[in-house]
């Protein structure tokens, strides 16, 4: 990965808070280059991003954040493009965060979602940003939530987050949105079926895209039937987690499953290539947003808050344990676990205790 790294930042030594203030002032006044720079800082998790979010977070919280996920090729990017057009007709400014996976081996990524959205390039009220997932496990939801907050604070009223629904962290991104749309295409084959149930669990709205293809109606009916079963399984699942409240439930589980879902998400049919069904989809999004302040909306905001705070907490804990005066002790405890002299739970307790000293 280091082979293709950008050189160390030139003015990194400059006061991050001052630099953040310049960027946030400019970005909230419509400077798109400053906005782009802030999003880079968020992606790179720099001190500038932290300082900027302290300023911007209180200004955010007004946008409707919509996660769009589904198998590769289902038509997510094409759908995002026509959804942008529909929202623009209603006079809304639209921000897009399109996440594609990074290669775990080279660290590289091919970010190709933008190809389908370039028609909106000239529109100053549309801002499209591609992001590589960069393999920060669990942190991806935090990073994209922070990116959405930056767009939100810069007055983008609708923020669409596209992720490929194949990995747990990508699903978590979509699940941390106010409204999660899961896209399916007709007849996508058995291997897709396997990930379907897990994906459907986070859906607020299910869209069968490629409505022009044979089998779209049938797929929609099948999904409606499946969703009844998922609603039941989901309820049982939540009961289980409720019972283990306060124990070792990792944040990923809290963020994706600790959230009430509609008993039966709406199933819509769209044809992204022609725009058929898109006004109906935007209407469904608006209805779900209207469920708003309590109910699913409140739970979604809590899930997003958790994703962000948990991730920062984990990062800060790790950083504190690696501070020079603790590093030797931390290493010794980790080594004891490696040697099976200490179990990992006892190790974690000891490390937490060293933080309190």
């Amino acid at each position: 990965m280091s082979t293709s790294s950008a050189p160390a930042t030139g003015v990194a030594g400059a006061d991050p808070a001052a630099r953040a203030r310049v960027l946030t002032d400019a970005a909230t006044n419509g400077d798109r280059r400053a906005l782009a720079r802030l999003l880079t800082a968020v992606e790179n998790r720099t001190p500038i991003a932290e300082a900027a979010l302290r300023v911007l977070y209180p200004k955010a919280g007004r946008a409707h954040i919509v996660g769009i996920t589904g198998a590769p090729g289902a038509g997510k990017s094409t759908l995002v493009a026509v959804l942008i057009a529909e929202a623009r007709r209603a006079g809304r400014a639209v921000g897009v965060v399109a996440v594609d996976p990074s290669s775990p081996i080279t660290g590289g990524a091919l970010l190709g979602d933008r190809v389908r959205m370039q028609a909106h390039a000239a529109d100053a009220d549309v801002f499209i940003r591609s992001m590589a997932s960069r393999g920060h496990a669990g942190g991806l939801a935090a990073t994209s939530a922070a990116a959405a907050a930056v767009l939100d604070a810069c007055d983008f009223d609708l923020v669409l987050i596209e992720t490929v629904g194949t990995g747990q962290s990508e699903v978590e991104v979509a699940a941390a949105a106010d409204t999660t749309v899961v896209l399916e295409a007709p007849e996508m084959g058995d291997e897709i079926q396997a990930i379907k149930a897990g994906l459907l669990e986070v859906a607020d709205i299910v869209v069968v895209n490629k409505g022009d293809r044979p089998g779209a109606q049938r797929t929609a009916s099948q999904l409606r039937a499946m969703l009844v079963a998922v609603a039941r399984v989901g309820a049982a699942d939540r009961g289980h987690h409720g019972a283990t409240e306060g124990s070792v439930v990792p944040p990923s589980i809290l963020t994706t499953r600790g959230r009430p879902r509609p008993k039966q998400p709406e199933v819509l049919i769209t044809t992204a290539t022609s725009g058929d069904g898109i006004p109906e989809l935007l209407a469904a999004l608006n209805r779900h947003r209207g469920l708003g302040r309590e109910g699913p909306g409140a739970a979604a905001r809590l899930a997003r808050a958790q994703a962000q705070v948990w991730s920062i907490l984990a990062e800060r804990t790790r950083a504190s344990l690696a501070e020079s005066h603790r590093r030797a002790g931390t290493t010794a405890i980790l080594q004891a676990v490696a040697d099976h002299e200490l179990d990992p739970f006892a190790a974690a307790d000891r490390l937490l205790a060293t933080l309190r000293e």
């Binding site: 950008a6 630099r19 782009a36 720099t46 590289g108 990524a109 190709g112």
Partner: protein, 134 residues
């Protein structure tokens, strides 16, 4: 962050009918560890500039086979300058005669890659020449 991958925009301005070469380059650079934003065919200089701005890329790579490089590339360079993207490196790929290459270099094109350039060579050039920024 020092281990941030270099971010490259690959665009195909002008009226070329296919983008096979550009796609091969995009995939190749991904495999070399770059984050590659691919924007596709028939990009106007304005579209390229907006994408470079929104994506906050380190490098803009233009693939041009149509022979229109002497009109398209200077327009992209000028728009990038006017937009304040002065620290974005511009490189181009295509069949560029030597006289044109000299002129393009003089307006700020950092690298010109003719047919036969390997992806590893492009990757090496970018790693060696992308400038530091915050």
């Amino acid at each position: 962050m020092t281990d941030r991958p270099i971010k490259v925009l690959i665009a195909k301005p002008g009226l070329d009918g296919h983008d096979r070469g550009a796609k091969v380059l995009a995939r190749g650079l991904r495999d070399e560890g770059f984050e590659v934003v691919y924007t596709g065919l028939r990009q106007t200089p304005e579209m390229v500039t907006t994408a470079a701005l929104q994506e906050d890329v380190d490098v803009v790579g233009l693939s041009i086979l149509s022979g229109a490089h002497m009109t398209l590339v200077p327009r992209v360079c000028r728009l990038l300058q006017e937009t304040g993207l002065t620290d974005v490196m511009v490189v181009i790929g295509g069949i560029i005669p030597d006289v044109d290459a000299d002129e393009l270099r003089s307006i700020g094109v950092a690298g010109i890659f003719g047919p036969g350039t390997t992806i590893a060579e492009v990757a090496e050039f970018l790693r060696a020449n992308v400038r530091a920024r915050d």
